[in-house]
Symmetry: C2
Subunit: 596 residues, 2 copies
């Protein structure tokens, strides 16, 4: 069951939906054109298909193990990570100044996706390292940058994010890890952190922990949290590794999925105190963490797309091979491969449409990120930042929730064989379930979408997106083909339902918080559904033009059909969700606590 | 995390929705009144809560193992099964003539549910044994009945269903196992059967395999399949066990869930031929198997409800205990238990409403089964048979699909802890995924609903149900409370959408089979959703009356709220699905095979 990176679809999204040519007009990204993108993607695909994907099932069968504080990763992971680092992949989107390749996120996101399709567990290590790099880039002192950045960007060292404590999961105000200032400006860190992805492993020389802690005397709550760098090994002034720091892995979790990725409990300071270095200013840790987390949230959304793509490909291959039953239309005289059966088609198309829709959404969001961070014009930066901020909870929340449905369908296509672990489909189902939880659960994303992204500006950003969607509808109407008209109708119905919920959410969030927040996840699901569908509508228009021009006929025809399927099978969920958002808040919260 | 059987809700469904008092008017069921039901349920609950549930996590951690052809079940299973058998629970619904208790399915279904809530893996053994008993009762010769029934009904022996072969899963026409007639009227059986639940184990003295095979010279396809009894140990004329039969377990599967239940590959006849005895007539095996399978399908539907209930209870307990974040309405000054957060409420209510709705649907279906099989009036039997037949794919298909959503929400409520195996929530998520597959996948149920249950009678049975729903709507309107009116409105919208799909499905199944069957699963999902919602509407009316009469105020109030929630959060999905059924058939099947 070989894996083949969907390079063509990724490039399509970059070129036609994310407008890569506009990204290349941003200073610093001049060379990041379609040719570069294609070359990068094809090179990355080789590594992902040939080296990293074959380790996926192995990692599930033989997870990382802990022995006396030392975590040994699955055989092959260390060597694969060395290849990954050597190829410069860790530095893809990071600044040239520190040894990175300085490519836009628009291209980097595709590489991130294929790495995660190949192996979610493996890909988590670079994902978390990216977070550490961004935190240091954003808020680290020049000294910290000089010591840590190049080695993180080269993949010589890796990074972690240490937020969660046993009593502090989604609620970081409850963080209790302590930081005591030392005379030399460093701190001693004491506390326990849990759920630390790649918190300990053998794939790199050093691990750079980014740790939330409270400086003695800091205010209660989230305003008293600071961010520290706590390396596994202290670093000498010449850059060589010094003493082992007092940060130790005391256990790793026994998880349902992503088993190869070690999830550590880290104990800081049990032997006198772990040495930590303040990042930025005291008590601004949560702020830094949030910027870093936003990047990680986007990354987790891409993980959802990635595992959906992998599940889709495996299901297609099985459906082609497995012969069972005569087609209901009599098109084949005897038993046929099950891909001939309408419900198998429906399942595969659902998997495909969700994946392509979310990929399109994530790619356009990535382009907005690039413009928001690097465009010379402040107004353009601002507009793109607003759009990107709105997209982050959708990319994270919707793409991961859809990955649960897609990986479930992936098992279902396999029938009984899907439930047998050796088949491989079950692993995606188990792996995917963490995606709706870590880096902020779907509810946390939905709260963000309701509170900061919709209610705060009175629904303005949301309505601006609806206006853009209306323009796409007009273009679809103008095109007049059956597929375009179906898409236009479904988009319109969904957009109108969305606008009703925006009015409800923006209008009532303060007066009736329970009723609004009880509908927050349905609101996120309908908004993500609509925005991904909108991108499929845009894709449909492009594909029609290309088809008419005789370019890539098979690909373009498939895009049109997939877009129409999205409209008729997925966008159709939006009005019901909108109705639930606007009417179901009271019944959701009415049951007395003791009656549950 | 203790488990508490929802006896009160089960009795409510029996008394008020399934009209147990009408069941007790059927000859033979005179004593099966509410008092009996309550006593039986409470007794069964003790066993399930105290003995069988505690083995659930153990079984997941230490699955059945195979050694040299011998399967050893999880420590404790054998003793628990002995207690189960001793209590007479295997014979609950089986005829008094053979040592059973002769209770109606209306009561038996509740016991089946609690057994499965306690431990899906354990409960599969009795479930399959029930199937073997029903096959023998229906089509076995007096001799076979005399030899096997009492021992199966007493739980001294257990039964299996042997349908699947490597090349024959959903498509039984491909069965290749051979049966060669012997001079004494018995047969020698040769072949390989896979996915045989409890095909080998150590919990009973003997295992009675019901095996589909082809007699030499039988017609091709499904019309040449016969059904055989193939005991693990041959039975002497005095009923004692004789020689080991040539039916051997050669491997057991490594599964994602229900790990304690051994799923065997059985090899028949590798050492000269397994002795088998024909059940009924030659070449009618599939017919017998289908009747038996209908019972098993209902049972699997109940498994969905059962695991949903268990996941719900565990999530509620966690949500009460876990303290995290301040409620959005400011009702608690600091961090509160997460059950105070609106989205957690929404998740728990979704789990609860799905479970109660499907339980109500399954219980009313069970009462129809009892009347269909035992009512003295042929017309009543026929009407109930038609209703029950329509319900089976809904109970199986919808209740198991909803169990995927509910067990996923169960993990989600737990946040990161849900992904850690020791928490227990993940097991339900893994276990549940088989339910939409075995005993006929959701697509197979949907084909049945479309073909045999809807198109064949031109939609008549479906419309008859819609008429009954309309009556409930009228009652709800007459009641006039806010909850009743909300339910009435949502039922009406959903029913009208359902009727559109019935017209489409009944009208086009022959002319456009691909378009109709591509919508078969959405059709099943919307129909199951509507029927379960209808039962919640009926429940709401009863609860209002009881509340007015001052009976069980807390329970009745909760039922009303849960019903209203069902209407506003779950019934709202129906119109979108109906739209997909009626418009999405073409786009589902349009993609050329090579484009996937």
């Amino acid at each position: 069951m070989s894996f083949s990176v969907p390079v063509k679809d990724m490039l399509f999204a970059m070129e036609h939906l994310a407008n890569l040519d506009q990204v290349t007009q941003i200073p610093g990204f001049e060379d990041a054109n379609l040719e570069t993108a294609q070359a990068v993607l094809e090179e990355c695909a080789k590594l992902c298909e040939g080296v990293i994907e074959p380790l996926n099932i192995v990692g599930d069968k033989h997870p990382s193990s802990l022995n006396d504080g030392v975590v040994t990763t699955t055989a092959g992971f260390k060597e694969a990570f060395a290849q990954f680092a050597e190829g410069g992949w860790q530095g893809l989107q990071h600044p040239v100044d520190f040894g990175g390749q300085g490519l836009p996120k628009t291209i980097g996101a595709a590489c991130l996706e294929m790495l995660n399709s190949a192996n979610l567990s493996f890909a988590l290590c670079p994902l978390l390292t990216d977070g550490a790099i961004e935190a240091l880039l954003m808020a680290g002192s020049d000294e910290l940058k000089a010591i840590y950045l190049e080695k993180l960007i080269s993949g010589q060292w890796t990074g972690t994010m240490n937020l969660t404590e046993p009593q502090a999961g989604s609620d970081l105000s409850l963080v209790r890890t302590k930081a005591e200032p030392l005379p030399d400006g460093s701190y001693k860190i004491f506390g326990t952190k849990i759920f630390i992805t790649y918190g300990e492993h053998d794939m790199a020389e050093n691990i750079v922990h980014l740790v939330l802690a409270r400086v003695a005397g800091a205010p209660e709550g989230v305003k008293g949290i600071s961010l520290f760098v706590v390396p596994k090994f202290l670093v000498n002034s010449d850059g060589s590794l010094g003493a082992r720091n007092d940060a130790h892995c005391v256990s790793i979790e026994h998880k349902m999925g992503i088993k190869a990725s070690p999830t550590a409990v880290l104990q800081f300071g049990d032997h006198g105190g772990a040495i930590g270095y303040l990042v930025g200013e005291e008590n601004r840790g949560l702020e830094y963490m949030f910027i870093m987390m936003n990047a990680a949230r986007y990354g987790v959304g891409v993980q959802g797309i990635a595992v959906a793509e992998r599940a889709y490909q495996r299901a297609v291959q099985y459906a082609r091979d497995r012969v069972q039953s005569r087609p209901v239309d009599g098109s084949v005289p005897g038993a046929a491969s099950i891909i001939h059966h309408p419900d198998v088609r429906r399942m595969l198309m659902t998997m495909r449409a969700f994946t392509e829709g979310c990929r399109a959404m994530a790619t356009t969001a990535a382009a907005a990120y690039d413009a928001a961070h690097h465009h010379p014009d402040a107004a353009v930066r601002q507009a793109n930042a607003t759009f990107y901020e709105f997209m982050v909870p959708l990319v994270k929340g919707f793409s991961t929730e859809m990955s649960l449905e897609v990986t479930s369908l992936g098992v279902q296509v396999h029938g009984g064989m899907g439930f047998i672990e050796e088949t491989g489909a079950a692993q995606y189902y188990r792996d995917a379930k963490i995606l709706t939880i870590y880096e902020g659960t779907t509810a946390i994303q939905a709260n963000d979408l309701v509170g900061r992204k919709t209610a705060r500006d009175g629904g303005q950003s949301a309505r601006a997106i609806a206006e853009q969607i209306a323009k796409t509808e007009a273009d679809l109407h103008a095109s007049g083909t059956a597929a375009a008209l179906s898409m236009a109708r479904h988009l319109q119905t969904a957009r109108e339902a969305f606008l009703q919920t925006v009015d409800f959410v923006a209008g009532k969030a303060k007066a009736s918080p329970n009723a609004v927040y009880a509908g927050s996840v349905p609101y996120l699901m309908l908004t993500g559904n609509l925005v991904a569908g909108w991108q499929m509508g845009r894709a449909l228009l492009v594909a029609q033009d290309k088809l008419a021009a005789g370019e890539e006929a098979a690909f373009m025809q498939a895009k049109i059909i997939t877009a129409q399927f999205y409209a008729e099978h997925i966008l159709t969920r939006v009005p019901g969700l909108a109705h639930t958002v606007c009417t179901g808040g009271e019944s959701a919260c009415a049951l007395p606590l003791e009656a549950f």
